[in-house]
């Protein structure tokens, strides 16, 4: 990829604080219109990576290009939108005043403010002081400022924290709209949830390294996590079922089997062969959380 089609290009990025190595050889590219989820536990280095891309902190090694510019330079900042995890604006300003200030800093006309407040559902509270806003409303105001102007790159840090399900749904819509307009999105989060699953690619950080960077489907395939098959045996026949199929006894009547995706059909055929000794079958595919844990655990093993 050249600079022109990579909105965000990170290569060999290192960051140390004293002797502590916080980031170690991070390489990550985000193309225009691409949505990438950046996952990792607290302290995995997500926030440090975001601050480096924003140019708030200087790297110890490696390179970052934001829309082809050095991070922190005026063109890079003009091209970058940022939604911090904790948005606490000044309580004495109204939402409209605060957003107008950001619009003027971004070089946008104050005229653009009202439609944005409308877009995030804050127009009725626009002239109330931010001190009276709920956490969700402050989060919406934060989102509104990230929508100012035409940004090439957007960095969203835990955008769903403090949002109720309806607001979360609105957030998905805003994110999809930004991507459709060609903005490259990097969405940092603690875990793999429904939002991150809707992104184009998933990057997982652990201990300052990037341990995974691929689409959800590819990650799931590569991880080859077992599907669990939970059988409920007829009274008294749980032992016979376990003797025949193996697996573990979960309680008095349940037997749990683990199998790969390829073995699944063969196992089901064997279950069917047991006739009425099995009363019920439940299939549990690997969850998003299992997948996330798998990749985070890889580093510590």
């Amino acid at each position: 990829m050249t600079d022109r089609d990579t909105a965000l290009a990170i290569a060999g990025l290192d960051k140390s604080y004293g002797r502590a190595r916080v980031l170690d050889g991070i390489a990550l590219d985000v193309a225009p219109g691409e949505r990438v989820a950046l996952l990792g536990h607290n302290g995995a280095g997500k926030s440090t990576l975001i601050k480096l891309v924003l140019g708030l902190v200087r790297p110890s090694g490696g390179s970052i290009r934001v829309a082809g510019h050095a991070p922190g330079s005026a063109p890079a900042r003009a091209a970058t939108a940022y939604l911090p995890e904790q948005v606490a604006f000044h309580r004495s300003l109204t939402g409209r005043e605060q957003l107008t200030m950001f619009a003027r800093l971004a070089g946008e006309h104050p005229r653009t403010v009202a439609p944005l407040l409308e877009r995030v559902g804050l127009i009725d509270a626009a002239d109330r002081r931010i001190g009276t806003y709920s956490k969700g409303m402050r989060q919406r105001l934060g989102l509104a400022q990230a929508l100012l102007g035409r940004r090439r790159v957007a960095l969203l840090d835990e955008p769903t924290s403090g949002l109720d399900p309806i607001s979360r749904h609105d957030l998905y819509a805003v994110i999809d709209e930004m991507a459709a307009n060609g903005t490259a999105l990097l969405i940092a989060s603690h875990a793999l949830t429904e939002l991150e699953a809707r992104t184009d690619r998933i990057a997982i950080m652990a201990g300052g390294r990037l341990v995974a960077d691929d689409s959800l489907g590819n990650l799931a395939r590569a991880a080859a996590l077992p599907t669990r098959i939970r059988l409920t045996a007829r009274e008294g026949s749980a032992e016979a079922v376990q003797a025949e199929l193996g697996g573990t006894r979960a309680n008095g009547r349940a037997v749990e089997l683990h199998c790969t995706t390829e073995q699944k059909m063969a196992q089901l055929a064997r279950v069917a062969g047991l006739g009425d000794a099995v009363r019920d079958v439940e299939m549990i595919p690997p969850s998003l959380e299992d997948l996330y844990r798998h990749y985070c655990g890889e580093k510590t093993q």
């Binding site: 924003l54 708030l56 948005v87 200030m101 950001f102 800093l105």
Partner: protein, 274 residues
């Protein structure tokens, strides 16, 4: 650049008005200035000067303490408070330099100080004129007092930003601001006084001491106001120290200090990683 600085200044000025800092600073200045003007009106007859002259001398003593204090109270939260709220990191991701941000706040805070000092000292001056008369000389002395008090306030605003940037938290910045005020406005003079007594009229007293006096912004403020008007010098009894210095020393110090202090604040701000 101007547009971005003005955007910060406009928001900051609103915050100061809504915090009621503008109102309380103005009321504070006004009350003290009026009280001093009328409490200090006794010596007019014996010295043969008008009431406004006496009032300017009293208000010089007031402003030397109050202008730095008000400035530091307004300024100490400028960087540390934003860092604590998390808005500093967000604001700095916009195409806004740290210098522009600092200048925007400085413009807003200076406007607050100008209102408080101008209204407070101006109203007391008007009252003195109405009650005891004023001449062209004493009116000029009042104008000079207001202008120099603003320069002094500007210096301490910038020093407040430096303190705010150097200490990580709002509470730490408040402590550092009080410390700055004590050292520059109170302890510095006490130290010089001690040195004078120890020196007992030697070379230090005649050659070094006046320059040390001019080097401190608060003392430079006093010197300029005293040296600027014969009558004020007569009333305040500070003519001796100023006489040993060239006339440009105190004004130069008072003009240089805000610039230097802003430079210092900018350097301290550069080290902040939000």
């Amino acid at each position: 650049m101007i547009a971005r600085t003005m955007a910060i200044a406009a928001a900051e000025f609103r915050i100061q008005t809504r915090n009621r800092w503008l109102a309380s600073a103005t009321v504070l200045m006004l009350l003290f200035a009026l009280a001093l003007t009328f409490a200090g009106s006794a010596p007019t007859g014996s010295l043969g000067v008008d009431l406004l002259t006496v009032a300017v001398a009293s208000m010089t003593t007031l402003a030397v303490y109050l202008a730095p204090f008000l400035a530091l109270m307004i300024a100490f939260d400028a960087v540390a408070g934003e860092a604590e709220r998390g808005t500093l990191g967000l604001t700095l991701t916009y195409p806004l330099s740290r210098g522009e941000m600092l200048l925007g706040k400085f413009a807003a805070h200076l406007a607050v100080l100008a209102t408080a000092i101008g209204l407070g000292l101006g109203a007391a001056g008007l009252a003195a004129w109405a009650a005891g008369g004023a001449g062209a000389a004493s009116a000029l002395a009042l104008a000079r007092l207001i202008a120099t008090a603003l320069l002094l306030g500007a210096t301490f605003l910038a020093l407040g930003y430096a303190a705010s940037a150097l200490s990580g938290s709002g509470a730490g910045a408040a402590g550092l601001a009080v410390g700055l005020w004590l050292v520059l406005v109170v302890l510095y003079d006490l130290g010089l006084l001690g040195a004078l007594v120890f020196d007992d009229g030697g070379a230090f007293t005649s050659h070094v001491f006046p320059w040390l006096l001019a080097a401190n912004p608060a003392d430079a403020f006093r010197l300029w106001n005293v040296a600027g008007s014969q009558d004020v010098a007569l009333v305040s009894g500070m003519a001796g120290a100023g006489a040993a210095l060239p006339g440009w020393a105190a004004p130069l110090s008072l003009f240089l200090w805000p610039v230097l202090a802003l430079g210092l604040a900018r350097a301290a701000f550069a080290r902040v990683e939000p």
